[in-house]
């Protein structure tokens, strides 16, 4: 058994939260998530991945993949060795993603592909250690995960896992935001927002009137979600060693129209914009509220919790798909006469 191992974790619940009701967000069907995994398996085989570890779920994704790989193998299609990580309790919450990623890393996965939205990538990043991550979008607000054809993502993940592409730039280190309130802490990959709401409730944040602060590890001008507020006012790139934050107030004279959720472009008032430097704890001046990480309310805080946000530069190592495939072109790695596997169909 070779050691080119890739893990694939798929969140069966991504793309189904309250934003389908309060905005016009789309549903990402289970069948398409399963189909994306199938397409990746073809790509993994093409570039010589030895073993693929797949998460299991009660949402029907792993069941669908299991059925289909049986059919494909019976048709003579070669696929890598596939192991379903079953045997762990499935709680149908974020812990399932954490448990799966941990097991994949412990079992030697060099790359873990995550199918989900920003929330899934955020949770997976907490467990991934030094393995590389490739986050593919199947969620609602997708800033961190890329919207990309799974076959191409599979080729890139495979080329990194096999060691065929080892160039500088094949993976890049993401930034993190660490939010603390009392003894509790959460990390975000894109943004931390503070809301005057009292409860986590239905989790998503979609009403700008409740916002008091937005902190961004990066803020791209073409982003969807809360980071779009600063994406227009003070853009920061993914690879820049800094972040940015803003204080938000509904009546502020400085306003921006921000696409804070699919189908929701809302005016947001901003009173103060400031760069963030890594390693410094930025205090949140609010007595009580909820901290949202990557668009989902997670941490409720009250007087005495003294919440802070810190920018860190030690986030997950992420596969840069265009860079990997550009390297593959330079090195001729997809030349079937030089080792790449020709699929049988």
């Amino acid at each position: 058994m070779g050691d080119a191992v890739v893990g694939v974790v798929a969140n069966p619940l991504s793309g189904r939260d309250i934003r389908r009701l309060v905005t016009q967000a789309s549903v990402f069907p289970t069948a398409e998530k399963a189909s994306m995994i199938q397409r990746m398996l073809t790509a993994f085989q093409a570039v010589g991945v030895d073993r693929v570890l797949l998460s299991t779920d009660l949402g029907g994704i792993s069941a669908s993949v299991l059925r289909t790989i049986g059919q494909r193998r019976s048709q003579g299609i070669r696929l890598p060795e596939i192991e379903f990580l079953d045997g762990q309790p499935i709680r149908q919450n974020a812990q399932d993603t954490v448990d799966s990623v941990r097991r994949m890393v412990a079992a030697g996965a060099r790359v873990v592909v995550c199918l989900g939205g920003d929330g899934t990538a955020r949770v997976a990043a907490t467990a991934i250690g030094d393995a590389a991550m490739l986050a593919l979008s199947t969620g609602t607000n997708n800033v961190f995960p890329v919207v990309r054809e799974a076959t191409i993502a599979g080729l890139a993940a495979g080329l990194v896992a096999t060691g065929a592409v080892q160039e500088q730039g094949a993976t890049t280190r993401a930034k993190l935001l660490e939010a603390r309130a009392g003894a509790r802490a959460e990390t975000a990959l894109v943004d931390v927002a503070v809301s005057t709401e009292r409860h986590v409730g239905a989790r998503a944040v979609w009403d700008p009137a409740t916002l008091t602060h937005v902190f961004c590890a990066f803020a791209e001008s073409d982003a969807i979600g809360l980071s779009s507020i600063l994406g227009q006012l003070a853009p920061v790139g993914r690879r820049e060693p800094r972040g940015v934050f803003a204080r938000i107030a509904a009546g502020a004279p400085r306003r921006v129209l921000a696409p804070i959720a699919p189908g929701l472009v809302a005016p947001v008032g901003v009173t103060h914009v400031e760069q963030m430097v890594p390693g410094a704890a930025y205090p949140i001046e609010a007595r009580a509220g909820v901290i949202a990480v990557d668009g989902e309310r997670e941490l409720e805080f009250g007087p005495g919790d003294q919440p802070t946000v810190m920018l860190r530069t030690d986030g997950p190592r992420c596969v840069d798909v265009p860079a990997v495939l550009a390297a593959s072109a330079r090195l001729g790695l997809l030349d079937p006469d030089r080792g790449a596997q020709t699929p049988t169909l």
């Binding site: 069966p12 619940l13 189904r16 939260d17 309250i18 389908r20 009701l21 309060v22 789309s26 549903v27 069907p29 289970t30 009660l58 949402g59 029907g60 994704i61 069941a63 309790p89 709680r91 149908q92 709401e197 009292r198 409860h199 986590v200 409730g201 239905a202 989790r203 979609w206 009403d207 700008p208 009137a209 409740t210 129209l257 929701l264 472009v265 809302a266 005016p267 009580a288 409720e300 009250g302």
Partner: protein
């Protein structure tokens, strides 16, 4: 420019009401569980314990204009919509003082004066009923909304799917609440629901479909509040899928050989009452004393309901000929 709906944060009175509703349901069901074991209660009972946040989160957003249709697991919906617990208990005991004069039993508790169209022994029987009441509300312009609760088993019935279609075609103020507790009797929903997530089916009908943590009152309340406000404004139907676990078997007496440690886990980690109490006392919205007072009142109320039910008379032969037809 923005179509953000007005947000509703529960007031202190609403929080007290929510806790009282959830505690009443829990206490009612735990008591029926114990009393059923004595053999005094006729027929079958299907208990709602564990699912309280769904009924409470939805019904707290409803008023006297609104109607709900329930399931065989209907006690929680009845209590949340304001049906008298004394009359409910008497109905379950088959007494003349019951909501339906002792002739319906657990699976047929109804109180039209409260907008409670009835528990329903027919799986998938509720959704067609609310299409009727929602159409009436729309035609009369009352602003009323109708809610059908159904389970993961009910979600697979043709009646449910036909009702979703009709509600969307007629753009009715109808809310479909799929209470997915993981099992249709003993058949796992992971095995029997083809789209896996019931909420995913909404896209096929062109209505919003969302998944909510059914153990979290604040999540169920928020989703229901948005969906109901949307329906009242003419925005049409919504499908809300509540995911949770029922604490007891499908019916009382079910040996539950089909499931492992999920109830233990849910009671310890996810329980809606525990989470609610922890949250509202932490924020200072309510005090422990507020909650203790409700616990004591509810306990006494359920005790009285059981005592009164046991002491109440049975229906007589002559009662067989009453309440057969309804005059409109």
């Amino acid at each position: 420019m923005t179509d953000t709906l007005e947000r509703k944060t529960p007031t202190r009175e609403q929080l007290l009401d929510a806790y009282r509703t959830m505690r009443s349901i829990r206490e009612f069901e735990e008591r029926v569980h114990r009393e059923f074991a004595t053999g005094e209660i006729p027929g079958f009972v299907h208990l709602y314990a564990g699912e309280e946040a769904s009924a409470a989160g939805v019904c707290l957003n409803l008023d006297e204009r609104d109607t709900i249709a329930s399931t065989h697991r209907g006690h929680g919906h009845c209590i949340a919509k304001g049906v008298n617990v004394g009359e409910m208990m008497a109905e379950i005991y088959g007494r003349r003082t019951g909501s339906c004069h002792g002739k319906g039993g657990s699976m047929h508790i109804a109180d039209l004066s409260k907008g409670m169209l009835g528990a329903n022994g027919i799986v998938g029987g509720g959704p067609p009923l609310i299409c009727g009441t929602a159409l009436a509300a729309k035609l009369k312009g009352t602003g009323g909304v109708s809610v059908a609760f159904f389970g993961d088993g009910g979600s697979n019935q043709g009646t449910t799917l036909e009702s979703m279609n009709l509600a969307c075609v007629w753009n009715l103020p109808a809310i479909f609440v799929a209470e997915n507790n993981g099992y249709a009797e003993s058949t796992a929903s992971a095995w029997s629901v083809a789209s896996d997530n019931i909420a995913d089916r909404a896209a096929g009908f062109g209505m919003p479909g969302v998944i909510v943590d059914g153990f979290d009152f604040f999540a169920t309340y928020e989703a229901a509040s948005e969906a109901i406000a949307r329906a009242r404004q003419g925005g049409g139907p919504t499908l809300i899928e509540m995911k949770f676990t029922r604490y007891f078997g499908h019916f009382e007496g079910d040996q539950q050989t089909y499931r492992a440690d999920e109830v233990e886990h849910a009671r310890a980690e996810l329980d809606c009452l525990e989470r609610f109490a922890a949250r509202v006392t932490e924020t200072g919205e309510l005090t422990r004393a507020d909650l203790d007072a409700i616990d004591a009142e509810v306990g006494a109320e359920i005790d009285k309901a059981v005592d009164d039910a046991k002491a109440a008379p049975m229906p007589t032969e002559a009662d067989l000929l009453t309440d057969v037809y309804v005059r409109y």
